[in-house]
Symmetry: C2
Subunit: 431 residues, 2 copies
């Protein structure tokens, strides 16, 4: 990827970054890079994520999915980091003969609807949970298994398991001889896209998983001690520095439908990694050009607290706009949808700058396996770099435990004081 931080500088914006800011940042990046490299060398918890492109064995994944090679659809049963990476890759790499559906919620109507639309006999079930005890994932998996039983389909012939070293899913895989893969040790879910966690559906769909990993390796080679020579670190450092100046929201706005899920994946990466100790930029998912007609008014005229990250993909296919005799629209005729999208991208970028809103341009050369693999890797590296600059524990997510205990207690899974707190809710109801 290429990054252009011109519209984040004080030559454009009153509150932009100065040359001195960048030099200070560059020194901090150098120190952070050393820390990150040490973590990678020792495969430390979290930092090990940046070793996945070499650690992941694509052949092992291809072998595991062989039994379900006849599938017309793959159904991923997972949630959060166990689903978003796979969804991002499928969407970015585009259509295949094998559909990819994701059960990452416990909405009864949605789960029933999804199952009733599938030919279960030709569906591969890709169940993913490190612990093997994630309530949403296991509940959905039990329901899927039951539906297969009812449809006379042998679920053991259609299921691929990706889980940790031990736990109920590992036991199940061992007990039934299911093809199974590892959630890599030392890698938080949101950093696991370039492992079996993200790659199993891509393999079933016939995408180039070796290419995804090769893209990750190329991105790994691009990491270095200076933000001026490393796009990933330039992004992480710029986002951090702007947050320090009050730009506390980071709008991720790709100009490509294929990157809509990517924006969601990024939102988890950024929120869960950096949302600690009262800090952390709030990621907002948007989509260009669509959201120009929805959110742009706020971005330009609302509070000056937003960084916009605008992503565009070059080398897209043509789609000519037919000529028309309508005078008001004559300017569109003979151009191409891609030109229109580009014009809107550049116009929005400049319109934000003109309104004193910092924005960063990220450009990708196409949406092929290599560029998608590199994008995911570089955003992970950007996030880890930012975590060093914020000085937070990038790789944990302790704040979600309270709610998990409360939910479990509410369902009768033990006595938890959190469940008691729920029962005593303060109310002021209006209806």
């Amino acid at each position: 990827m290429q990054i252009d931080i011109g519209n984040a500088l004080d030559t454009v914006l009153a509150e932009g970054l100065t040359e001195e800011d960048l030099d200070d940042l560059d020194e901090a990046v150098e120190r952070a890079h050393e820390r990150i490299e040490r973590g990678r060398a020792e495969d430390e918890f979290g930092y090990a994520s940046l070793n996945l492109p070499t650690a992941t064995d694509p052949d092992e994944i291809e072998t595991a999915v062989e039994p379900v090679a006849d599938s017309e659809a793959v159904l991923t049963v997972g949630i959060g980091g166990s689903a978003l990476g796979a969804a991002t890759i499928s969407e970015a790499l585009g259509p295949s003969d094998v559909d990819h559906l994701v059960l990452d919620n416990v909405d009864p109507a949605h789960v029933r609807g999804t199952l009733s639309d599938l030919d279960l006999d030709r569906t591969a079930v890709n169940v993913v949970s490190r612990s093997g005890t994630t309530a949403e994932t296991l509940a959905n998996f039990l329901i899927v298994r039951d539906a297969m039983d009812e449809a006379g389909v042998d679920w053991t012939e259609r299921t691929v398991v990706t889980t940790g070293e031990d736990g109920p899913l590992r036991d199940l895989a061992d007990g039934h001889g299911l093809p199974s893969l590892d959630v890599p040790a030392g890698v938080p879910g949101r950093f696991s896209a370039l492992s079996a966690v993200g790659l199993v559906p891509a393999a079933i769909r016939g995408h180039d998983i070796e290419g995804l990993l090769a893209g990750g390796r190329a991105a790994a080679d691009s990491l270095g001690p200076s933000l001026f020579e490393c796009p990933a670190y330039a992004y992480g450092a710029t986002a951090y520095a702007l947050d320090q100046r009050g730009f506390s929201t980071n709008v991720m706005m790709p100009y490509a439908e294929g990157l809509e899920a990517f924006a969601e994946w990024f939102a988890q990466l950024w929120a869960e990694s950096l949302g600690k100790d009262g800090t952390g930029q709030t990621p907002v998912r948007a989509l260009g050009a669509t959201d120009q007609h929805s959110q742009l008014q706020l971005y330009r005229a609302g509070p000056k607290d937003k960084l916009l990250t605008l992503v565009r993909v070059t080398g897209q296919p043509d789609c000519p706009i037919p000529e028309t005799g309508i005078p008001d629209l004559a300017y569109l005729g003979g151009t191409d949808l891609g030109e229109l999208l580009d014009a809107e991208f550049e116009a929005t970028e400049a319109s934000l700058a003109a309104a004193e809103c910092p924005n960063v341009r990220i450009e990708l050369d196409g949406l092929d396996a290599e560029s998608v693999g590199a994008l995911l890797y570089e955003m992970e590296a950007a996030c880890i770099l930012a975590g060093e600059l914020y000085d937070v524990e990038t790789f944990t997510q302790p704040a979600v435990e309270w709610g998990k205990r409360a939910a479990r207690g509410l369902l009768g899974g033990g006595d938890f004081e959190e469940a008691e707190a729920v029962a005593s809710k303060e109310r002021l109801e209006i209806d």
Copy 2:
């Protein structure tokens, strides 16, 4: 809808609203309600939106869609307020024999892919643009028309137009005798869901558009001068008051897959209406329970600048979770997905309160036409009320014009100084 603002009060949160705050707000609500009622009585620009449930003629819409009653799919070609209301209604009311697809972006690969998946001979094209000159919409419509020509389909027999009194689309509809409907005068796009703009696809899909309007009328009847007796105003006033206390982000988080598009619709409503003069809460779209595994860490442990709006739907269908012999999961067996979702909803609500994050509960009795119509209406009323409290021009969106002129200039549609500004972009590129 019912609303519960208990978790926004100072009895729960250090920074919560006091009784005195609520009383002051209630006086402001009374004044704002008078202003709103005057606007409604005189059908003033914007305020007229709240008259749509009585002003919209469902029979006229049903008649207009008769020629495309044989459709297997409806393709909405529109953007922003010309697409999101219709998408929200389709998603909330659920599956039908007629699919609803939306072209609300100018991504070449996506447009091509969408068209190639459709049987154009059995597709209804629902083109929506008030001015009839919206670049993205007209470009896409020209491409759709061309694709129909190429497929030997008479586009004039498959197209329904919704547009303003005059402009190129109105001329086209008149010239070809196409069924056409009006974008209602005095109603900004984002407030037009309960007009032809939002209802045409629902009518083609066989949904109960009279029920949607009846829901809107019931909601209109619920408006009154006190926030303690009007859920819509209670929501708008609470959100406004919390923004004044530094809760500058409003996370809209429905616990229902069918309301995912609603969160997007809400985000436009809130952003474009209130993002003015340096003010405006930033709407963030989220989805429960999914985003508990993605965003919740940030919401609880990050900056204390967020209001969470948690929406749940009661009376959902059952989906039992099968019993399992796995000890760690025994607590799930014999319960229902809906119970799990509910437990997660209440646990998250309480976990946010325990972390000093204000949150508001909105409850809907099912996702039928009446409740969806009422929800849309009440959120619009909440937004208009908030606009009065912020004292902004709720119904305009002047900040998006700069970019439109720039894009048009870049495509050769005239000389605009904005296009020149684009050409002189400051760059600092890293690759």
